[in-house]
Each structure stands twice: as structure tokens, then as C-alpha cells.
């Protein structure tokens, strides 16, 4: 059945296109009873298409309403395009990845700054900083992980 649809068959082509024309003109609502199995299947597909996705037309008022909404959207986009670049870059919906990247970079800097302090060198010098450094480090890492997790969930 599938093979015959691939071969050159002007008669079938004509019958199917004539059937389609009639369906589109609303003159045919049932498959042609004289059709063979293959053609019958194709005709049913045509009827299904026409039934579930019938042609539509936009009236004048709908066109005007859409035009008004398009103009409003264009004005909004022009306004937004004039916003400072940093605002556009870092606004959450626009660049969530960039924002996440900046946060990650910040965490790395914290690591670089606080890791030597928390690791220490065995001396008592700066010992007071150890617990503070570790706490900040742990808090920053946890906050960063939570933030990235939140970003992933929002996406």
C-alpha cells in the first residue's frame, strides 16, 4: 500500500486533488465510496485535516486590534532597548545564565580569598580569622548552590 503512493499515478493525483477541492468548498463531507483502500485512507486524512483545522479568516476589526497590539509591543521594545546596558544584561528573564555566572565567579573569588585563611599555616597568627573564614566560605558555597539550583528549576 505504501509503495503505490510513491509511484507516478496521475489518476490518483487527480482524484485526490479534486476530492480536496470539493472538501474545501464544503461540497464533500464523506470519503468517496468508489475509492480504493489507499485513496480512501488519504481522503479520510483530508477530511480530518479540514474538520480539525478548518480555514479561518480574520475580519477587519481583528486585524486592527492586532495592529494596535503590535504597535504597543514595538513601542515597549524600543523603550526597553534604550535602558542602560547593564540593566538589560543582568535582568533575570533576559540573561539568567549570565547572572548565575557572575554569582559563581563571586563565589570563586571568595574561595581564593578565604581558603588560605581557613587552611592556615599552623601558626597562631590570624587564628581568630579561621572560624569566620570557614563560616563565610561554607555559607557562600551553600548560597551559591541553592541559587544555581533555583535558577535551574525556574528554567
Amino acid at each position: 500500500m505504501k509503495q503505490s503512493t510513491e509511484r507516478f499515478d496521475p489518476e490518483r493525483d487527480n482524484r485526490l486533488t479534486e476530492f480536496t477541492d470539493q472538501v474545501m468548498e464544503g461540497k464533500m463531507e464523506q470519503p468517496d465510496s468508489n475509492a480504493d483502500d489507499e485513496l480512501l485512507g488519504l481522503e479520510k486524512t483530508i477530511l480530518r485535516l479540514n474538520h480539525f483545522l478548518p480555514p479561518v479568516s480574520l475580519d477587519e476589526s481583528a486585524i486592527k486590534q492586532m495592529q494596535v497590539r503590535l504597535n504597543a509591543r514595538m513601542r515597549r521594545e524600543v523603550r526597553e532597548s534604550r535602558a542602560p546596558f547593564w540593566k538589560k544584561w543582568f535582568s533575570y528573564p533576559a540573561r539568567p545564565q549570565l547572572l548565575a555566572g557572575v554569582v559563581t565567579a563571586g563565589l570563586l573569588i571568595l574561595l581564593v580569598v578565604f581558603l588560605p585563611l581557613s587552611a592556615g599555616d599552623g601558626s597562631t597568627a590570624g587564628a581568630a580569622l579561621k572560624p569566620i573564614g570557614s563560616t563565610v566560605l561554607v555559607a557562600a558555597v551553600v548560597a551559591g548552590v541553592l541559587y544555581i539550583f533555583w535558577i535551574m528549576r525556574r528554567k
Binding site: 505504501k2 493525483d13 486533488t17 474545501m24 488519504l42 485535516l49 483545522l53 479568516s57
Partner: protein
């Protein structure tokens, strides 16, 4: 340029309107929009779920506005617009796949003007739209030209610069492929 009369605009070709738009006439773009919106809308509505049709249609015309200055007129404006529409539809489905949204629209989308707004009819529509997206481009295109844009087969043959027999043959093969996809998805 803004004082182009309505009757003049209606008789003006796309190419001249584009030139007028480039020269600063907003009215020329409005005329282009008015002229081409119905076909773009019909085409989008045929392949995009009801709730997103207007949004995608508007995005297409925003893209037109942004690209008109670089439109070189190598193809007819209508043909160029169809290609742009197809790209935007493909982009819609790419984004949708990335977001892993379900194929079925929420029931709140069931405010369409089409035949049958029951959830079953909507599911069926989206099922067919999904199958259409899986077709090769030339198959999908001929179905859209005939059903969405309601072009006659001889007009499609002229547009695609094929003879009528080849056009009809392509149509039958396209419907056959669509049928196979619909059967596969069952």
C-alpha cells in the same frame, strides 16, 4: 511620505511599499501588515497551538520590521515572508522542546474560534500539528498552501514554478506521509 492616500496604498506593490517604509513611511508598513497579516495568521494558526498564535504572528512582523532594511528583493516579499514565518514556527518548537513543555496546551487555551473547542478536539488539533511538523519541508509547505492559505493547485504550481501534474503528485505524497505520521503516533 505619510500622506499617501488609502487608495494609492492599496494599489501599490509590496516592493514600492518597502521602499517607502525605508524612506520613513510608517503608513507603508501598516499597509504591508494589513495586506499580509491574514495569510501569515492562517499559516501560523495551522501549525501552532491556539494560545500562542497571536504571539508568534506578532514576532514574525517584529522580525519583518527589523529585517526590512536589509531586504534585497531577490525573492518576492510574499515568498520571503513565508520563509520567515517557517523559521519562526521552527524556533517556537525548538524553544518548546528545550523547555520540555508538554505537547498538549493547557485547557485555558480552549478559547479558540475553530471547530470544536472540547479538550478532545484541541488534543486532536495539536496531534495533527505535531505530525505536520515532522513532515519534510516541501510536503508541509504544499499542505499549508492548500489548506491554510487556501490556494488552488494551479496557483501553487505557479508559485512553486512546477507544472500542475508535479504539484498534484507532490500533494498526494504529502498527504500520504502525513497519514503515515498520524498512524504512527496512534
Amino acid at each position: 511620505m505619510e500622506n499617501i492616500s488609502k487608495t494609492t496604498i492599496e494599489d501599490t506593490s509590496d516592493e514600492i511599499l518597502i521602499r517607502q517604509y525605508r524612506d520613513g513611511s510608517a503608513a507603508a508598513f501598516d499597509a504591508l501588515y494589513h495586506r499580509h497579516l491574514p495569510n501569515v495568521y492562517k499559516r501560523v494558526r495551522y501549525v501552532i497551538p491556539e494560545g500562542d498564535v497571536e504571539d508568534v504572528t506578532q514576532e514574525i512582523f517584529i522580525a519583518v520590521l527589523r529585517s526590512l532594511s536589509s531586504f534585497r528583493g531577490e525573492a518576492q516579499f510574499g515568498t520571503w515572508l513565508r520563509t520567515l514565518t517557517n523559521h519562526k514556527v521552527a524556533e517556537f518548537y525548538r524553544k518548546r522542546t528545550r523547555k520540555q513543555e508538554p505537547l498538549l496546551a493547557p485547557l485555558s487555551d480552549a478559547s479558540g474560534k475553530t471547530t470544536g473547542n472540547t479538550p478532545t478536539a484541541m488534543e486532536e488539533r495539536m496531534f495533527i500539528q505535531g505530525a505536520l511538523q515532522k513532515l519534510p519541508e516541501n510536503y508541509r509547505e504544499i499542505i499549508l498552501l492548500r489548506f491554510a492559505e487556501e490556494m488552488q493547485f494551479n496557483e501553487i504550481a505557479d508559485l512553486t514554478q512546477q507544472n500542475l501534474e508535479a504539484t498534484k503528485s507532490l500533494f498526494r505524497r504529502a498527504i500520504s506521509a502525513l497519514r503515515s505520521h498520524l498512524d504512527e503516533q496512534l
